[in-house]
């Protein structure tokens, strides 16, 4: 994540290119092969005790690596463990077995906790329950204030973060006068202000109206494409998942599918599997499947309406 605003507006065509150029904290300029994964999860288990003495395993033996600059979508039905998994990435939850490493730092080491949180930011589902201050800029400043940064640095970061999400004009607005989508953008700016290399989004659009969803999705895409942020997007929306470089499907605490969206969301076999898991396919994929059933020959991996229209014409 750049430490000042000069990367703003610099469009990049691949996340790898920006990865080499960015001033991300701890970024190595050595060749990509030598770069260790940004997030490394091994055999992660998380077991919750129940009131009546039993226990439930929210996560069972998850193995996962995420590289810098990746845009990963995590989908799964309610109860599949996706939120639990997300909370392990910044140490809000600790493993009952297995390990989670962020840039080599073990999250279960108490001394590492704050360093981990400086590397992994998080945006939650409920826009209201993330905002603590009486004005937008004071809320965005909360993170840098916790880092005890000097005032001018805080000011710089706040202005930069608000500019990235497009809310610079709303600096002095109180949060309760913003729409849900705007509040969520403020939350994103607040996460950005601590300049983490990676941001985890836990169903950020599920409480928003279509307009808010569009704005937030656009911002998330920009963060990955232009600001070189590593993004983990947890979502119920297959349309959203289709935006990512890689889609993970979680079911009953395990990763059951892992691959590019065209592969995971685009096929007929996978479609049946996803539906069996309680998930949906993007509408374009559904229509394409039906058309194939009606005898039309279509290439695989058509995820969007545009792609499908293009293939038909």
């Amino acid at each position: 994540m750049p430490t000042n605003g000069h990367r703003r507006g610099a469009a990049s065509t691949s996340s790898h290119a920006t990865q080499a150029n960015s001033q991300c904290r701890g970024a190595t300029t050595a060749s990509h092969h030598a770069v260790p994964p940004f997030i490394e999860i091994r055999d992660l288990e998380h077991v919750y005790p129940l009131e009546d003495g039993g226990e439930v395993a929210a996560l069972r033996g998850v193995d996962l690596t995420i590289q810098r600059g990746e845009f990963v979508a995590l989908v799964g039905a309610n109860g599949s463990g996706k939120t639990t998994l997300a909370r392990h990435l910044n140490g809000l939850l600790l493993p009952t077995a297995g390990s989670v490493r962020v840039e080599g730092l073990l999250t279960s080491e108490p001394d590492n906790l704050w360093a981990v949180r400086e590397r992994v930011g998080m945006v939650f589902q409920n826009p209201d329950n993330q905002l603590v201050a009486s004005t937008v800029e004071e809320d965005v400043a909360f993170g840098p204030e916790n880092q005890a940064l000097p005032v001018d640095e805080i000011r710089r970061r706040v202005d930069w973060a608000l500019d990235v999400v497009g809310l610079l004009d709303y600096r002095t607005h109180p949060p309760h006068m913003l729409s849900g989508g705007q509040k969520q953008l403020v939350a994103i700016a607040g996460a950005l202000a601590t300049q983490p290399a990676c941001i985890v989004f836990d169903e950020p659009t599920s409480m928003l109206d279509p307009l808010g969803r569009r704005r937030v999705r656009g911002t998330i895409r920009r963060l990955n494409a232009r600001e070189a942020a590593t993004v983990l997007l947890i979502t119920q929306s297959m349309e959203e998942a289709a935006l990512a470089d890689r889609v993970l499907v979680l079911h009953a605490g395990r990763v059951v599918m892992d691959g590019p969206p065209a592969e995971v969301l685009g096929g007929d076999e996978q479609g049946k599997r996803l539906r069996a898991l309680g998930l949906d396919l993007p509408v374009a994929v559904e229509i394409a499947d039906r058309l194939r059933g009606l005898g039309l020959a279509l290439p695989p991996g058509l995820l969007t309406v545009e792609a499908l229209a293009g293939a038909l014409c």
């Binding site: 930011g121 993330q130 905002l131 949060p175």
Partner: protein, 275 residues
Amino acid sequence: MNLLLPGTHVAADSVLHRLDPRVKMGGALLLMVLPFAAGSKDRPCLASTLLLVAFVAVLVVLSTAPIRALLRTLRTVLWVGFFMFFFYLFTTPGQPLVAVGGIRVSWEGLLAGGTQIYRLCLLVTVSALLTFTTSPAQLAHGLEAVLAPLGRLCLPVREFTRAFTIVLTIALRFVPTLFDEIEKITRAQQARGADVRSPSPVQRVRTWVPLFVPIFVSAFRRADELAMAMEARGFRSAHRRTHLHRLQLTGRDLMASLVLVAVGLAILGLERWAQ
């Protein structure tokens, strides 16, 4: 604006609005205590009363607060004032002016009662002025700045003052949100037939549980989520924090403080002299 209740803040650019909240809080405190400065006879002398009333009147004008709203507010508290007035009127010993049956009204009584009304009006006006010219967030900042030196004493005190100020900030930020939520839950339960507008007080009490429980549950859930979000952004209660906005005393603040001290001394002096 209908009423200028203590608590109503309006963002404006008056002389008073621009003052440091610490100066305003200290000044408000001073002005609320001064009416109780009494040289003799347990009530302030005429001169000091006039001075204080004139000074507060000037402040009201400077603050650009709507005077009509203020007067309407004073009118609503006047019924308490009248109760006190009559209490003092009839119970203060002194030369009787009028005696009807066993009830005696004296000149002293009139003055004593009048003093209570004067004090009440001044208290309400000064507190309304404070909140009118100072946003809740600024008050919280001011309080935080005032308490900060305590933080150097020892760790528990530091933790307490930090916790106190962050809790205050969050509480203020959520006041409008909570009001909205209360309204929403009320209407939702009304839609299920709960009689929230019932004339019968018994019925009204019955509807409290369907309102309180959901709001409490939601408040706890909110606090839990908020705590996670705060931790995710690196909040540690005992750890040192810096601030985006630092309160700075300006020349104007210094002037205002001098004026307040001068007025205070003048009033105390007048009381002394009246003895």
